[in-house]
């Protein structure tokens, strides 16, 4: 698994809106971990309840896949411009 991304740069230019934002993902990771720890008993109960139907295993895999996908986002860059508007997203 890759190292998680540290920053997300978001820049939107339009006729009415014009803003740029550096989102510190490295600060959100501890926050997300804390939420995950707090909710872990509920998640565990949910997974155990759903396990016989087969959805419990899928729920665990989805959670893991979400973490892997997030960590794989490092290097993603989207830059779309037209004459009036532009959107720039970069994950570093």
């Amino acid at each position: 698994m890759n190292r998680p991304p540290m920053l997300m740069h978001l820049k939107i230019k339009g006729e009415n809106a014009n803003f740029g934002l550096w989102l510190p993902l490295f600060l959100l990771i501890p926050l997300a971990l804390a939420v995950l720890i707090v909710l872990s008993p509920l998640i565990l109960i949910g997974v155990l309840a759903l396990w016989p139907s087969g959805w419990g295993k899928k729920a665990v895999l989805v959670l893991w896949a979400a973490i892997v996908s997030f960590c794989s986002m490092r290097g993603l860059k989207v830059d779309v411009k037209n004459r009036r508007e532009s959107v720039y997203i970069s994950v570093v």
């Binding site: 993603l76 860059k77 989207v78 830059d79 004459r83």
Partner: protein, 146 residues
């Protein structure tokens, strides 16, 4: 010098084989003589492989309306594509059937169930040679890996 080596050098002198071929054949002969495995030495494998899938849409300078064209520059990490392909295995079968029928309606006969996580590396390695260039009106579209 062995008979085989002489033959190889003769073939090279007669320009029947290239310098690369001669080098490869001499390596095979050397390996055979020293009792090693008689496989030709290949170039070291390129480490890493393709890292990003790039999609660019740029204005076509030859077109009179190029100034109005959109500009797109997207760079997607291969690791994200890998994770995405792996996620397809978590799609419920009912949703997979719906996706397949929607693709079929659009004229694409592709079964999403045939995407296996084991084939991902081969698929990504094959993407390394891919390059799509489309010139359409005021825009130039390019899809490639780097």
């Amino acid at each position: 010098m062995t008979e085989n080596k002489k033959k190889i050098l003769e073939m090279l002198a007669d320009k029947k084989i290239s310098i690369d071929d001669a080098y490869r054949l001499l390596n095979v002969v050397d390996a055979g003589e020293s009792g090693q495995e008689s496989t030709p030495k290949t170039e070291p494998e390129i480490k890493g492989g393709p890292r990003y899938l790039r999609v660019t849409v740029l204005p076509n300078a030859d077109h009179e309306d190029a100034a109005r064209a959109d500009r797109v520059n997207v760079r997607v990490p291969m690791s994200l594509i890998r994770a995405g392909i792996k996620l397809t295995s978590l799609i419920p079968p009912e949703a997979m059937d719906k996706m397949n029928s929607a693709l079929h309606d659009k004229g694409i006969n592709f079964d999403m169930r045939s995407v296996k996580s084991e084939d991902i590396e081969d698929l990504i390695a094959a993407l390394g040679d891919m390059e799509v260039d489309v010139e359409s009106g005021r825009e130039k579209i390019k899809v490639f890996v780097e």
